[in-house]
Symmetry: C2
Subunit: 80 residues, 2 copies
DNA sequence: ATAAATTATACCCAATTAGGTATAATACTC
DNA sequence: GAGTATTATACCTAATTGGGTATAATTTAT
């Protein structure tokens, strides 16, 4: 199995937003309608996820999955 | 089955980049190592796709999948 | 308009996901 | 440090994906 990466853009984003909102994983999962296990695997950095489910969560934070230049992505990671 | 959306950010991005590069679907699929059927479904706007596969393709264009504010996304769509 | 190339749709299958739940580990709070 | 809440890991199953290929439809070029 491919190795997980807890610090990928999506995992980081959801984890930090969730904490800012003072929500537990279970609460966020319930609110967004995804399974608790899915949210956990996402935050853990599982490599292969369904875009639809991810967007279900991102939508709650007013975001969505889009292609981004890698340079931007790298830049974004410098500040952490 | 959920309805497809040919004009979502990802489908549009890949389709237009591919054409700019003067590649056929088969060629791009071969180059990026994904199945031809996957690339077709992506460009057709299938709602549920594996992030890993998508990134495999985006990488070729120097991009990657990240959470983006919906407002930005909407803005982006105005110019087309 | 005709021929060739590209793209779209349909069929099958093996492999993997998401789901729930139970249990272990970790992080907080007092 | 004890007790509680939260998060992480493991097991099992149904449903869906991605893959290839064949065929139909559409687009492009001559």
């Amino acid at each position: 199995m491919k190795k997980w990466n807890r610090n990928n853009a999506i995992a980081d984003f959801v984890r930090s937003r969730r904490k800012n909102s003072k929500l537990t994983q279970i609460e966020l999962a319930d609110i967004t309608g995804v399974g608790i296990r899915f949210l956990r695997e996402l935050e853990q950095g599982k490599p292969n996820l369904m875009t639809d489910k991810i967007n279900q969560i991102l939508l709650f934070f007013g975001h969505t999955l889009t292609p981004t230049p890698i340079s931007d992505e790298a830049r974004r990671n410098l500040g952490k």
